[in-house]
Symmetry: C2
Subunit: 205 residues, 2 copies
């Protein structure tokens, strides 16, 4: 757990609740946490899902590894400690979005199980929906795709601590959704996720 | 400027734009940045405004000093360096909300002009609305109110670096909105802000 530094702070309960905001929007907030190797297809599925949700009038927002690292987390690198802090901050931001009623689509490698479990715990303590989506594909497939040319650089030693090469990826043993991006179509993947959102009453059936 | 640590990152432009999300919501996003002494009435105005916006069907979210310090910024204290990082992160989170179409109500002492100007610049570079709201009242009034008993502790030396006592408050010379919480009613203050939101086309007239 991260140590609480500031003292003399207490939680402000506003007049407007999560329920009020859900009424404005016509749906609930939730965090959909995409995890998987670089090149596994996390962002591809998240972008497609975002488009479908938008057509349905559902407000969603994509928190993306690269985007977040250019903004709120620009002072973090890729050491194990910085990766953990990266995921912690993203988890806290996702919580703010869920509280607002937004469907947060977070799409990060997030290789360490302990970090993901920490974000899950943060949500569950607050009574918020957290849906872990494992975008699974073999390292061979991800490396063959190599959309950003990063595996090539990692193999050449130009990038250190690269997940799957010289840093571990800990697959989630009990993700709510397990996609196989090398066997399923994008449409199939999106439909699986939408069905879960309907089942849980996050979006309307 | 905060140094960019991670390399090999680039901005992902999603298919769904700010305009798509504004269409779902029926209004635009904006950051309303309340600044002023502890006890000046920032949170009181923000809470009242949040209630009014909710009645109007406008999705807003309050980022509050204490709340944020219990979550995303729990690893920050009150040194000048930590205060700057606190405000930087809040500014980046507010930007994510604006991008989502939400009216972000950030309510922090934010005593240093340079930090506020940095958040303003971040918004303006991205073509996002940033409205600085100076909640002005004399130190004497704020200290007499002392809703959290913090001035008393600061005078007794139990809290260090307390704004207005042993740390400076730099009043904004050109805030978009200048409220005087010791002369105006809460209703007057809220109406002034709503008029600016209508004038700028953020909410419907």
């Amino acid at each position: 757990m991260t140590e609480q530094k500031a003292t003399n702070v207490h939680w402000h309960e506003g007049d407007i609740t999560r329920e009020h905001r859900a009424n404005i929007l016509g749906h609930k907030g939730a965090t959909l946490w995409f995890t998987g190797l670089s090149g596994s297809g996390k962002s591809t599925v998240a972008v497609e899902l975002e488009g479908m949700l938008s057509e349905m009038g559902v407000l969603s927002y994509r928190l993306d590894g690269d985007n977040v690292r250019l903004g709120i987390n620009k002072n973090l690198g890729f050491s194990a400690e910085d990766r953990t802090e990266n995921i912690r901050r993203i988890g806290e931001i996702a919580k703010l979005f869920v509280d607002t009623g937004v469907v947060a689509l977070s799409s990060f490698i997030s290789p360490y199980a302990a970090d993901r479990d920490q974000v899950r715990a943060l949500h569950e303590e607050a009574g918020m929906e957290f849906i872990e989506i494992f975008v699974d594909c073999s390292l061979e497939t991800a490396e063959a795709r190599d959309p950003k040319g990063l595996y090539k650089k990692a193999r050449a030693g130009e990038i250190k601590n690269f997940t799957g090469i010289d840093d571990p990826y800990e697959a989630p043993p009990k993700a709510e959704i397990h996609l196989h991006s090398d066997q399923q179509s994008l449409e199939e993947e999106v439909n699986i996720i939408l069905a879960v959102l309907r089942d849980r009453g996050i979006i309307k059936a």
